[in-house]
Amino acid sequence: MRFALVGNQNCGKTTLFNQLTGANQHVGNFPGVTVEQRFGDARGYKDCVVVDLPGIYSIRPYSSEEIVTRDFVLNGKPDCVINIVDATNIERNLYLTLQIMTMRIPMVLALNMMDEVRAAGGTVDTALLAEILGIPVVPIAAVKGEGVGELMETAVDVARRKQKPTVYDFCKPGPVHRCIHAVTHIVEDHAELAGMSSRFAAMNMIEGNRDIIERLGVNENELELTEHSIIEMERECGLDRNAALADMRYAFIEDACARAVKRGGESAEHRRSTLIDNIVTNRYLSIPIFVAVMLLIFWLTFDVIGAFLSDLMGQGIDALTAAVDGALTAYGLNPVVHSLITDGIFAGVGNVLDFLPVIVVLFFFLSMLEDTGYMARIAFVMDKLLRKIGLSGKSIVPMLIGFGCSVPAIMATRTLTSDRDRKMTILLTPFMSCSAKIPIYSFFVAALFQRHRALVMGGMYFTGILVGVLFALVVGKAVFTGKPIPFVMELPNYRMPSLKTTLLLMWDKARDFIHRAFTIIFVASIVIWFLQTFDTRLNIVTDNAESVLASFGRAIAPVFGPLGFNDWRASTALITGFMAKEAVVSTISVLLDGAAVSSMFTPLSALSFLVFTLLYTPCVAAVAAIRREMGSRTKAVEVVIMQCLIAWLCAALVYAVGGLFV
C-alpha cells in the first residue's frame, strides 16, 4: 500500500516522515522536475510505503511542487493521504486539507503539535473536528513520537476500507453554492471518464486551471455555460472567482474552528519567538548578528571541526593508499596498472573525499539554520538587498557558503522554494571565491606581490562578487524572463530542530556526495591520470612535458595569448585545476622544476592568471553538483563553457587595461 504524506511547510512533515519510516529512506526526483521525492517503508508494516510530498500551502498548479503533489494524489492514486496539520496554526493549514478533501481519496488528518496547543491551555475536540471534516483525525506530537503509532494504524485501516472523505460541500446556500452545483453538473460525466471527483473537476473549472480542463475534455458549449454561471456568481457575491472560492473555504474553516477548537493564551513558543525576533531582526543588530552567525559557522566548519576531520580523513586515505601501494609492489603488479590505482584513482577520488567532512559539518549547521526558523528571518532581513539583483533573501546563505566550498553551497540551494531563484543562485555561487583557491592566491602573492598582499587577496574576493552581481543582473534580465515567484513567506515560530532529522539530512548529503565521488569523479580521475601518464603515441612518459596533457596544454596555450600567459605550463595547470583548484599550484610547481615563478609570469600576467582561475570553470565536484541540482547535463556543460568565457574576457580586460599602466 502507498501512503502520501501531504502538508504545509513548517508543520513538522519531515519529522513525522522520519518517525514513520526511520532510516530506511530513498531519495529521488519526481520525473521531469528537480523536486525531491522521498519515500520509505513504514516501520512495523509490511508492504507499506510512505511518500513524502513537498511542503505546500495550496494545490494550485503554479509551482512545480504544487503540480507534483496534485498529480501524485490524482494520478498516483495513493491508498491513503496522510495530511499533517500544524494545530497551532490550524486555520491556514486546513485550507490545503479542504482542497485535498475534494479529490475524494481516502485520507487521515494528523493534527501535529498538539502538545504545544495543550501547553498554552487550548484544546481541540478531535472527534467533533473529524465529524465536521468527514475524515479521521489523530492528534500527534511528531517531535516526541506521540500518537505516531496510532496515526499509522488509522491510516492503514482507512486505506483497507477505502474510506473516502464524506464531506466535500463547503458552502452555505448562496451564489457560490449555486455556481459550484451548476458546474459540477456540467462536468460530472467528463470527470468520471477522466477518473477524478466531479467536485474537484468543478473547482478546477471555476479556477480556470487549463491542464485539468484539457484533461476533462469539455466542449465549447460546456465551457460557455460554466463561464456564464461563474459570472453570475461574481456579480451576485461581489467577489471574483478566486476570492470567492478562497472565501468559501476559509468561512467553512472559521466555522469548524469556532466549534471544535478552543484557543489557549499566547503559546510559550510564540512569546519566545517574539523575544528572539526583537533581537535578531532589530534594525541595528540584525546584520551584525547574521554576519557573526555566518562567521562562526565558517570558523567552526573550516578551521575547527571540519578541518580536523578533513585531516583525519586525509591521513586515513594516505594510510590506505600507502598500504595498497605496498601490497601492489609486493605483488609485483604491472607498474602502469599500479600507477592507475594509486596515482589516478586513489589520488583523484581521495582528493575529493577530503571535502566530505566539511560538507557534512556544513550541512549540520545549515539544518540548524533552516529547522530552527532562523533562515526565514535571514530572508526577511536580507530580502531588500538581494532583490536588487533579482533574487530573494534566502539566496544569501548558499552564496555565502560558496566562499567556503561551492559543492555544499550548490547543494544548499535546495532550501530555496522558487525554482527560478534556485537556478539563478546555482549559477551565481561559483563566482564566490571558494577556499580551495586560497592556495593559488597565496602562492602568487608570496612570489610576486609581497608588497600588496592584502590588496591582491581582497581584490580577488571583490572581483568575484562584482562579476557575480553583474552576471546576475544580465542573466536575470536575459535568461530568467519569467516572473519571479512572489515573496510571500511564513515566519514560523522558532523551534528546536529534531536531532534525528538533522542526522538523517547529514547522512543523506554524505551519501549523495560519496556516490558522486565514486561515479563521475572516479571517471574524471582516470581520464586525467591517463592524459598525464601517456604521450600521444601511448608510450609512458618519463618527462612531464611529453604527456598528452602537456601536448594538450601546448595546443590550447595560444588561446591565453591575449591574457598574457601563452605558456603550456600555465594551461596545463588550468586543466588539472578542473579536478581540484589546489592542483593548479602543485602542477605549476612541478612544471617549473625549480625555476622562479617570475621566469614564467610578469606581475601583470600573474594577475590576469589569478583572475582567470578565480572565474573559470568550477571544479569537477562542483560541476557534478550543478548537474544534479539543475537536473540536466547540458546545463552543467553550459555553465562550464559560460564561466570559461567570462573568465577569459575578464582576464583579457585586466591584461589590456593593466598594460596601459605598466
Binding site: Y57, S58, R60, Y62, T88, N89, E91, R92, Y95, L239, N242, A243, A246, D247, Y250, R263, S273, D277, T281, N282, R283, Y284, S286, I287, A376, A379, F380, V381, D383, K384, L385, R387, K483, I485, P486, F487, V488, M489, E490, L491, P492
Partner: protein, 75 residues
C-alpha cells in the same frame, strides 16, 4: 488605506485583495482575504519587507505587494 501604510500594532480588517496572477492567488491561499483581521507586527531593518500577523500566524510580504491589499484600520 493599503496594508503597507498601516502603522505597526494597529488592528485592521482587509477590505479587498488586488494584485494579479500568482501573487494574488498566493495571498488568497495564505488567508489574506476580505473581512480578515490583520496587524502589521514588524518592518525589516532595511524598511522592506513587512511582517504581518493574520489568522494566528506570522507572514512576511514586500511593500509593493502589500500595496495591493486594501485595509480599514480600526478606530
Amino acid at each position: 488605506m493599503t496594508l503597507d501604510q498601516l502603522p505597526i500594532g494597529r488592528k485592521a480588517v482587509i477590505k479587498s485583495v488586488g494584485g494579479e496572477g500568482d501573487l494574488r492567488l498566493r495571498l488568497l491561499d495564505m488567508g489574506v482575504i476580505p473581512r480578515t483581521a490583520v496587524t502589521v507586527t514588524r518592518i525589516a531593518p532595511m524598511g522592506d519587507p513587512i511582517e504581518i500577523r493574520i489568522r494566528g500566524y506570522a507572514l512576511t510580504l514586500r511593500r509593493e505587494d502589500a500595496k495591493t491589499v486594501e485595509v480599514e484600520a480600526e478606530a
